[in-house]
């Protein structure tokens, strides 16, 4: 059974106030068509989990510009002055964390773990309000799982069952976010039939994906 839907059908699953995972690194590996559709429908008050601030008007920068983001959970904002300004003016709330911690928190949620212990952030501003544990003479922070209502992925190639292949550095957060949301929508640049992707080359198995939409190409 095909999971292919139109972007409009997919948008029924993205609602005001949701927590949305968006993969990407400075705009690379981000589902632009899905983001455009959110901007068009003005789905707002979103909590967005994204690695960085991208750039003004690029990727999640579009959501910032349209005022659709209430809160960012991110590692870095400096590349997007519009986001930095919005945070300074209190229009966007920010939760800042190290990149390795962000990805492990998402992975923990997807993998059914209750949390992970990381040495990153110990003795820094990151440890505020976190449980600190000493083990074998080393110090760790307990970091908790991070889930989302919906994850919006970007794949270079995908089949109708949702098996996905990412290209080069566009892989980044995609395979991890695919595992940690209640509903997963994949925007694919090249849609192929089931069986056209080598089972060895699948980077996200279709069991994680609820809806597949075609990108803009």
């Amino acid at each position: 059974m095909s999971k292919v839907k139109t972007i409009q059908e997919a948008m029924e699953f993205v609602k005001d106030g949701m927590t949305v995972m968006l993969p990407g690194f400075l705009g690379v590996g981000t589902p632009e068509a899905l983001i455009d559709a959110i901007c068009e429908r003005k789905t707002g008050n979103l909590t967005v989990i994204y690695n960085d601030g991208a750039f003004p008007g690029v990727g999640i920068g579009k959501l910032i510009r349209h005022g659709l983001v209430r809160k960012m959970i991110s590692t870095h904002t400096g590349t997007n002055p519009e986001l930095v300004k919005a945070i300074a003016e209190g229009r966007v709330e920010i939760e800042l964390l190290p990149q390795g911690t962000l990805v492990e928190r998402i992975r923990a949620a997807g993998a059914g773990l209750g949390g992970i212990l990381t040495p990153t952030g110990v003795g820094t501003s990151v440890e505020e309000r976190k449980t600190i544990m000493e083990l074998d003479g080393a110090t760790y922070l307990l970091e908790l799982p991070l889930r989302a209502d919906v994850a919006l992925l970007y794949a270079f190639k995908g089949d109708t069952q949702g098996n996905l292949v990412y290209r080069r550095t566009a892989r980044n957060f995609n395979p991890i976010m695919a595992t940690a949301a209640d509903f997963v929508i994949a925007e694919v640049e090249h849609l192929v039939d089931v069986g056209e992707i080598e089972p060895e080359h699948v980077m996200t198995p279709g069991i994680f994906v609820d809806i597949v939409v075609r990108g803009c190409n």
Partner: protein, 221 residues
């Protein structure tokens, strides 16, 4: 290699000497990126980029950009033979798990404890954390590559960082345009000064105590 003339290139040129044959290296944004200009193929250095690959080559020439192939600074780059892509979880498993031999990072401040500060808090005009904390915690060696003083002439090497520290880890080496300094349990030790620079000049531009041994050398690559 002859010594370059610009301060940033002097730093990169000197840092390159610290890298050993066959090492896996992560270069931060800014001055550290320039280090790759002073690496020869014979050194067999593998560059890791935290957005998800090893085997990073030079910047792509304009017009020859490869889709979806950027470095951690968002610049278009090229691949070398033997490259491999992976996701962010694997990328930071590599970083935090001790699989990076050397990370070269810029800094806003370094202090007498050898701690560096390289991020600001957003809302106060700063960019955020990124992958820096994981790199400083996880890499086998951490080299700070930065200009010795700020644009306004104030020292970046200080008694105690005024900005939030990146990690409670003593960095292994500080390379600036005028000096090479090694943090130790006894304090910051001046190891080398740049050609034409005096020890007194380094001391006057440093906001922390420097231990000056008898055998301070001249910076060479």
């Amino acid at each position: 290699m002859t010594m370059p003339t610009s301060p940033k290139d002097i730093i990169a040129w000197r840092v390159a000497k610290e890298l050993k044959c066959g090492e896996v290296v992560n270069l931060g944004i800014g001055i550290p990126t320039l280090v790759s200009n002073y690496i020869t193929p014979e050194m067999n250095i593998t560059f890791q980029s935290e957005n998800g690959f090893v085997g990073m080559g030079a910047l792509a020439k304009p017009g020859e950009e490869i889709p979806d192939l950027t470095n951690a600074g968002g610049q278009w780059v090229t691949l070398l033979p033997g490259a491999a892509f992976f996701d962010t979880a694997m990328s930071f498993a590599i970083i935090r798990g001790g699989h990076i031999d050397v990370t070269v990072l810029g800094a806003l401040e370094v202090d007498e404890r050898g701690y560096l500060a390289n991020y600001w808090i957003p809302g106060k005009g700063g960019p955020g954390i990124g992958g820096g904390m994981d790199l400083v915690v996880g890499a086998k060696r951490v080299i700070v590559a930065m200009e010795h003083v700020r644009k306004d002439g104030e020292p970046k090497i200080v008694t105690r960082c005024s900005m939030p520290i990146t990690a409670k880890r003593m960095v292994d080496l500080i390379v600036t345009d005028i000096a090479v300094i090694r943090p130790t349990n006894e304090g910051l030790v001046l190891r080398e000064v740049a050609p034409g620079v005096t020890t007194d000049e380094v001391l006057s531009k440093t906001g922390a105590c420097l231990i000056v041994p008898d055998d301070v050398g001249e910076m060479v690559a």
